[in-house]
């Protein structure tokens, strides 16, 4: 039996460290079995203004010397983490799908999953625990 934790990011990047910590905490699920006898499976969902984390071409590294949220998302995509982005929210904010982060250049097979909010709500139902960032 595996445990599932849903990480929900609802705030924009760069104004708080926490949207980035959502990714690193999700990633740490893959090594949680060093502490317990069961695997822990993460799912990451971007909703509300949190979808702004998923815009591509972030240049924080060049300008402020900081790895971008985009780079983090790409690495997780290439590691096959399940990452959902709320369709209604990207539409509300006028963000076209081609403006979203793409993991292909790091060898990811699939990109971000743009899904209706009701699918994210379904993930909330089936997960064991919720972590809102």
């Amino acid at each position: 039996m595996s445990n599932n934790i849903l990480f929900v990011v609802q705030r924009p990047p760069y104004k708080s460290e926490n949207p980035k910590l959502a990714i690193t905490h999700a990633m740490s699920c893959y090594t949680a079995d060093i502490h317990i006898d069961e695997p822990v499976e993460p799912t990451l969902a971007y909703v509300g203004d949190g979808v702004l984390n998923c815009i591509r071409d972030q240049r924080s590294q060049d300008i402020y010397g900081l790895i971008s949220t985009e780079q983090h998302i790409k690495v997780q995509l290439s590691g096959d983490m399940k990452i959902l982005v709320c369709k209604e929210d990207i539409e509300r904010l006028g963000i076209k799908e081609e403006r979203l982060v793409d993991g292909k250049d790091l060898g990811a097979e699939a990109g971000l999953n743009v899904v209706p909010f009701k699918e994210i709500l379904k993930e909330m139902e089936i997960c064991d625990h919720l972590m809102f960032f």
Binding site: L52, D57, S60, D62, Y64, L93
Partner: protein, 99 residues
């Protein structure tokens, strides 16, 4: 007064902006304030851009950080660098308010 107002958030204190008055008002969109210059929520420009007599500026370095380029910026807003910002602060505005 010549007042330079800094906005670094997407959400928040819009009321205060509309209450502040002076002979010259400039709004500097920095940090997450840059989303006001780039995002059209439900197809509409940000409510903070509605005031006609204000000069709006957006910091180019903070645009790039968040994945936006100059050509995505609303045409009423001037894209500036840290160098421009410094000159504007030191020469054109005598008081500054970070909302």
């Amino acid at each position: 007064m010549k007042l330079g107002i800094f906005y670094s958030d997407l959400r928040g204190n819009h009321d205060m902006l509309f209450r502040l008055k002076g002979e010259k008002i400039g709004v500097f969109l920095v940090g997450n304030g840059i989303y006001h210059a780039t995002i059209k929520e439900k197809g509409e420009p940000s409510p903070i851009l509605q005031k006609k007599e204000i000069d709006y500026y957006v910091l180019s370095e903070d645009l790039s950080t968040r994945g936006f380029s100059t050509d995505e910026v609303d045409s009423d807003i001037k894209v500036i660098t840290y160098s421009d910002l410094t000159d504007l602060i030191m020469n054109d505005y005598d008081k500054l308010a970070w909302l």
